[in-house]
Symmetry: C2
Subunit: 216 residues, 2 copies
DNA sequence: GTTATAATCGAATGCAGATTCGATTAACGT
DNA sequence: ACGTTAATCGAATCTGCATTCGATTATAAC
């Protein structure tokens, strides 16, 4: 068996990207470690050299997706020099285009999230290592959820700013933002690369909808 | 072992309702047949007297939820005497209040749906009965998806009517409806009965958002 | 070269959970 | 009463994974 030299061997990131893809096609439960491994020409056993467990791998997929999304959004959200409506337009576009370009990640943010909330604690017969691994996982997962709220908070911030400045009419900011994010996330559920509209065009429509709701 | 007399024994519907509940709390993968059975004081084995398989049971949960939702929406959608905006307001309210009152079903429509899309065909060593059962299941599932589009079509119809009549400004109807349904479905994900707003109040906000987007 | 370490594999383990089976009991019509 | 059918159960199967283990090879450091 010719092993790949270390410098060309698949690394964490390649596995994460492939896993996002497989997860998108099959969903959390029906995706096996073998499936993910096959996507990078490895065996299931090899994945455990890179990730402690399947849950840890999936969490890494979501973390990577969220980090990328936040990075894209943050750039425009924090540009204090533009008015709120300009910033919000750019944020919605960045969000939707991101979801459309990486449908795997977009859908994962909606679907696989749930699986993570449900991870079961080790049973009574677990040893200390198992318990420690579980504790680590929970800490990391909770960090993920906090980070996820950071994402939402960026939107709340900008919408709130706009209302303050009188650029937007008054709305219930948290509810408005949830409606907006619901609509945007949903794109990840129905979007098809070969569909009638691409990410940019869909973004145009959602921008139109939510900005006119805010500025009418 | 005292068996319950047939006339008080749990029926299909009771199992479906209980299953919706358990599914809501634990999610598809982590919900076992035993869990569902326990919720109606049965054993896992007994469930197979009422449902062919776990998948069939989950599908029944979704069907029941969808039927209820369609029934609620249809009543108002098809009242040709009211103007489109009045009808759409009532539909959004019916949808969200329904989701909030049955969060189990609301969340299931978002989450568990995916599990159903991924059901695997029987493997090569399956006998004819297995293949037939699988075929039945697929037919039923596809019927479900069609029915689900019926639901969406009701919204497209009313929004389309409004645009035709000039009550609403012109929009891309399918995209608008998806944004709307995304926002509404998302309520099922974050809604908590003990939260700041009840279903009616949330409905008020979403109605406000989407109707002002349409009438500005 | 020699050695330590990183990556990989094939095969074995272990288990949880869906599904099946045969037996048992309750209700209902006759 | 009596047989038939519907519901239920406990225990046994069966299977598909996640995960572990020991061995093997490649790479890098020295």
């Amino acid at each position: 068996m010719a092993r790949k030299p270390a410098n060309q061997s698949v690394n964490r990131d390649a596995i994460i990207a492939a896993a996002a893809d497989v997860l998108h096609k099959h969903g959390y439960e029906t995706t096996t470690m073998k499936d993910i491994a096959a996507a990078v020409n490895l065996t299931a056993a090899s994945l455990y050299h890179h990730f402690r467990s399947k849950d840890a791998l999936v969490l890494s997929v979501l973390e990577a997706g969220l980090d990328a999304a936040i990075a894209r959004i943050e750039a425009v959200a924090c540009d204090e020099s533009s008015p709120a409506d300009t910033r919000l337009r750019a944020m919605i576009r960045a969000h939707i285009v991101g979801v459309a370009e990486h449908p795997a990640v977009g859908a994962a943010m909606v679907y696989e999230l749930r699986a993570l909330m449900q991870v079961r604690p080790p049973n009574a017969s677990a040893d200390d290592a198992d318990r420690a691994a579980y504790a680590d996982f929970i800490v990391r997962r909770d960090g993920f959820f906090r980070r996820r709220d950071t994402f939402e908070a960026l939107f709340r911030q900008v919408v709130g700013d706009g209302v303050q400045d009188g650029v937007f009419r008054p709305v219930d900011v948290p509810i408005f933002v949830r409606a907006l994010l619901g609509a945007n996330n949903w794109v990840g559920v129905w979007y098809r690369p070969d569909g009638r509209l691409n990410g940019d065009a869909i973004a145009d429509h959602n921008i139109d909808i939510f900005l006119s709701a805010l500025m009418s």
